[in-house]
Symmetry: C2
């Protein structure tokens, strides 16, 4: 009854679905407070207190017919201008409102980009480990994901491996830094290396190769590292941003696409993105929240909880014998699995009511992902469970 591709998809998604069901089962038996669910990236920190005030302001100041009505499929000009200005101020860029499209989160932005640029059979290179959904977003438009394996020590891109993956069909490269699932930030040398290769490959193949920068974690940074802003290094860059994590509004589905005026074929690209945003069924980004985020662009939720969770978990897990690259941003860490079979290891963790995601789900196995966007209390209480888990797995190693 359902389509062949959807049947295939349902089979694949059953691992995560099974874990979700397992979480509910464990909560029911042991009580939610005794289950350490590190499986999902749902922010635990509330939105900035100002958000509610701003929602009320917008409701008071705007005519409801206009506020909740249709606008251009690209979004309100006022919101797009505010975003262009904020990006220009922060990064010394030259965005104009004509290069900004308000989107249904970063997921909506990425689908809009791939609908616009991919012909069937086109290839999109991703750096593993990577957010699983990229595979689906590219497959939606009959594109193919090509996986670039990381440096096994730093989990950053391995440029030598990357360079060998290009073909005549390479249409785009996805970058997600700070990274889900590793928390790694790609440093400026890495970015310059990637962009140098991209410029060379564009010349070699004689057509555009786009950089697609997925940046929902841009402001979630816990070190002095500042993620390089990619349009400064490569003109043919799409910036896909979401307010989900910065403002703790993931349910509201609000984000944007930013396209530099220097992108080749800028006008045709913007026309394509606008039509794609419409015909995929988004039509436009939710209107009230377009106005809300336009007034909150420089706000950020309190990320001190995430920083503290990272510090506690990194020091405790390494103390217990886990090997892990110290995350600099986002709210994930990606330790090595002590068991070569990472799914089996996550099964073992479940015995101690710890829910983790096997690294094989992110295109680079032998690891597990831990999402620490949970409460401080939960993290502190989990340490005893991790101790038991460590005893179990390192004992039998």
């Amino acid at each position: 009854m359902i389509s062949a591709s959807m049947k295939e998809m349902l089979k694949g998604s059953s691992v995560i679905r099974a874990m979700f069901e397992e979480g509910r089962r464990l909560n029911a038996i042991y009580g939610e407070e005794n289950v350490f669910d590190f499986s999902l990236g749902n922010p635990s920190v509330p939105p900035p207190a100002e958000i509610e005030k701003v929602i009320n302001e917008v409701l008071r100041e705007e005519s409801p017919t206009v506020l909740h009505g249709y606008m251009s499929n690209m979004g309100y000009e006022s919101a797009r201008s505010a975003i262009a200005s904020a990006l220009n101020n922060e990064f010394g860029e030259n965005f104009t409102e004509a290069g900004i499209i308000m989107t249904v989160g970063a997921a909506g932005a990425l689908n809009t980009v791939f609908k616009t640029i991919l012909d069937p059979g086109d290839e999109v290179i991703v750096f593993a480990p990577f957010f699983t959904e990229y595979k689906n977003y590219v497959a939606n438009y009959c594109g193919r994901i090509i996986i670039s394996l990381p440096d096994p020590v730093t989990l950053a891109p391995d440029l030598k491996a990357f360079e060998t993956l290009f073909t005549e069909r390479t249409k785009a490269v996805i970058i997600n830094s700070p990274n889900n699932p590793t928390g790694v930030i790609y440093d400026e040398n890495t970015i310059k290396g990637i962009c140098g290769i991209l410029y060379a490959k564009q010349r070699q193949y004689g057509h555009e190769i786009y950089l697609v920068s997925d940046e929902p974690y841009r402001q979630l940074v816990y070190s002095d590292a500042k993620p390089p802003f990619l349009t400064k290094y490569y003109d043919n860059t799409f910036v896909a941003y979401s307010f989900s994590k910065t403002l703790s509004l993931p349910g509201e589905r609000i984000g944007y696409l930013a396209v530099p005026g220097r992108m080749s074929g800028f006008e045709e690209i913007m026309g394509g993105l606008t039509v794609a945003n419409r015909i995929l069924g988004f039509v436009n980004a939710p209107s009230l929240f377009q106005k809300v985020v336009a007034r909150c662009i420089n706000m950020c939720c309190d990320i001190s909880t995430y920083r503290r969770n990272r510090d506690v978990l990194y020091s405790e897990l390494t103390r217990l014998g886990f090997e892990c690259v110290k995350p600099e941003g986002a709210f994930y860490m990606y330790p090595k699995s002590p068991d070569a079979d990472d799914a089996r290891f996550c099964g073992t963790a479940k015995k101690y009511n710890i829910l983790l995601v096997p690294g094989s789900a992110f295109g680079y196995g032998g690891h597990f992902r831990l999402a620490y966007c949970t409460s401080r209390e939960k993290v502190e209480k989990s340490i005893a469970a991790f101790e038991k888990l460590a005893e179990d797995v390192f004992g039998r190693k």
Copy 2:
């Protein structure tokens, strides 16, 4: 730079884009108050006054972390239960929350359905004239639109023509009643006829054929006609609903899909829809407005303006010599074009600052669409312009 299919699409959408630009040009020259823009379906009636109160209630009562956070991709259980109950009360149905998915409007709902059920090359029958976007929504999943031409007098489906269009590849039939662009409501006999044919064709081909009911105008009815509720007539029906028109909230992108438990393969279908809603990039319907519409299900904006606009325009246009099926619902009418070339006629209308859409855009030419969801004053002021237009076109006939 953009994909081949998107290039094709951009060419096609240039007619409507050109009209949009023309509207802006005319507004700039003559002033917005002297331009009679009947081209777009953007509601002019404000949302019910209670909406703002309910938004404030929800903001006050719910924890912001939960309210703006992720929930199941299907949407909040509370919203889905409220919708199931409301449908059951109104139509004597047996929906459960397991059969409701909150969506990014009806456009999101339709894309989610087609992603779930269409294999490349599958055919979807639509009754002309029809909302242009159906073609794009089906093409997104490499399906083919098959057009069923109407009875030329009533503009309702011609069942004899319809019956001849089925093939081995027919996967679905779209119904949109009250109809955009005609305002026609398909009566119970028509619905019974369509469903009888569907049951027979399912038996003949030995596989499911789905009815997809696009119902954004369900409550916008100006006569005693009540649009039959399709799940009562055919089990394999997807109901795609939007609050855009009923509550005048089109910019907020909030709607739902309702699937009867009797649909064959219900569980697999719901699994597929949930995954499709996620991977297309919607992820979930905007969260605040899920909670808002759940408390406003039985409200409706004041449709007396639309009714009055319909009455004035229908009586004036027929008085002036235009032939038109009297619309019973939605906020469109679809008179015959006095010029066989409907695009040329719309060009003539522009001379009098009247903006209309040629019928050829809706898969059944020789007509023009007039969207009367505008203000009463605008409609009244337009009559003098229509008089001049009538003089021009009927004079030279």
